[in-house]
Symmetry: C2
Subunit: 325 residues, 2 copies
């Protein structure tokens, strides 16, 4: 979370002259976004976010991400809306980086979500899946099951330095998941990274979803599995079934899970946990000297995996058939 | 420039409940302020800055800084205005740190000020000196001439690693300044750190002065000398007399410099340059491993000192008697 690129006032002035957003009143680099440099802009027409894409976001993916945000915003979803220049471009360049201006969303990220937040998130997630249904572009999930083996190969030799027997546990997870990973579930656009810092609330209502830079085309229920992992575990590591129940029920009120999705939920949750454990593990073992960003703890997800390995039924996550008492 | 302290939403909510600023809409950590952690807040009543004071600001000095900002704002100066809680407190505590909420000022810092900016700054500086005239509190300048010897003592042994003969040059400056430093010049509250990043503009008009955490009681002309150093040198190291002339003339339009101030100006400019060279040099030689802040270059001020050593007359800075052709 840092400002990787300094933007001089002259360069910003020249860049913004292409946009119909009125006069620039102020801009501040904000400590948000692990991947990019972000500024909050105040202009006479309102507040905006200016994003400069640093090297971790592939430039070739930007048309998908920006197109998706435009599509979702046009469907009424509360997400950052790319602002186009007078010439009609959503993507520009500033200080040598690809850069965009998007609408600013008010709202506060909740670090320790309660049941009401989980319920609201379930509903927002279903809304996102519905709003993306007719989005024409596709982007494969580069961090799905096929990527986990190669990720683990980068970390395997050093994994037991991070926790005893982590390598052996991970080999077992990989074997279990690679053999059984479902490929025929209902799907479409998923967010794939809907952690609490990517969801804004005003009170207990969702006011915005942000950071679509892992969005891709994959199973809807996998997105739900990511959210169950990110939102429904307590700080002590225990799964909170009440929160899971609230999230799943709210999701199903908008889109009822099919039986095959329900059956796959334990596997999807275990896979989602493995995906975040692995990327965090690789980052943890590869912190560059002088890094501005502290890596996230892979063992948080190792503990979640211990829970998922024992689950055999979606009911343990709080699923129940809609309409059931 | 970093967010040193993470502020959870629950802690912020409890803190802000004491203030009459309406409902919190959003907050973002901003990459501004070398000394403190700052957030931009949007609330239903407008935008604010939340500052958490990290250890480099002495807590005992906060009543002076906050009292000064309140005083200046009440005199109509565009500076951050501390917001008081319902109980009347300007200073609170958040996440174990002293913390304040101040009004947000629109405006953009100009990295390469033009002559019009220097003119506007001269006028704003005189306005600051006038607005502070009846401020009752006093704070000695902890970084004036008496501090330079001890600062140099911390760096002397390693100074020549930074530039050849830097130690010898600095010894000569110290000797020249310590013997001749004026102590009887007109004075009062000065900002003492009015670099371009502490001044906001809307167009060519000053819209705000910020960062009063070096403010103290000292000679007015020394504040002007700091600004001439910070604003009127070009990137190639040359002093721009046109800019100096614009700044000094605009200052004098509000408050005419006395003959003894004019006579002292070369010495004051040299002293101001030495002060920033020395603090930068000490910081440069003491960068902690893993530091988030890149130290500023002391040699920028070493080059300015080379100019000041040769100046014998305030006219070389662009001073002329008001009313002279």
């Amino acid at each position: 979370m840092a400002v990787y690129t300094e933007v001089p006032d002259e360069a910003l002035g020249a860049f913004l002259a292409e946009y119909d957003i009125g006069t620039l009143l102020s801009y501040k680099g904000i400590a948000e976004g692990v991947e990019n440099t972000n500024f909050i802009l105040h202009a006479t027409t309102g507040a905006y976010i200016l994003t400069l894409y640093e090297k971790r976001v592939a430039e070739g993916d930007l048309p998908f991400f920006l197109g998706l945000m435009e599509h979702l915003a046009s469907r009424g979803l509360a997400c950052p809306q790319p602002i186009r220049t007078r010439a009609g471009a959503a993507l520009g360049r500033l200080c040598g980086r690809p850069a965009v201006v998007v609408s600013f969303l008010e709202g506060v990220s909740v670090r320790r979500p309660g049941t009401a937040h989980c319920r609201a998130l379930g509903s927002a997630l279903a809304g996102l899946h519905a709003a993306g249904a007719d989005f024409a572009m596709r982007r494969p999930n580069a961090l799905s099951v096929a990527a986990w083996g190669p990720l683990f190969a980068q970390a395997e030799a050093q994994a037991d330095r991070v926790a005893p027997n982590l390598a052996a546990r991970t080999r077992q997870d990989l074997a279990a998941l690679e053999g059984a990973w479902p490929t025929d579930l209902p799907g479409g656009v998923i967010h794939a990274d809907l952690f609490t810092d990517n969801v804004f609330f005003l009170g207990e209502a969702v006011s915005g979803l942000i950071d679509f830079y892992f969005a891709c085309t994959d199973a809807f229920a996998y997105d739900l599995a990511i959210c169950l992992n990110a939102w429904c575990f307590e700080a002590d590591g225990a799964y909170n079934r009440t929160k899971g129940q609230a999230m799943i029920a709210a999701y199903q009120a908008e889109r009822r899970l099919e039986p095959r999705e329900v059956a796959a939920l334990p596997l999807l949750c275990r896979g989602a946990a493995l995906r975040f454990m692995l990327t965090r593990l690789v980052d943890w073992l590869n912190v560059p000297p002088g890094a501005l960003v502290r890596p996230k703890d892979p063992l948080e997800y190792d503990r979640k995996l211990a829970f998922h390995r024992r689950v055999t039924d979606a009911a343990e996550y709080g699923w129940s058939a809609p309409g059931a008492a």
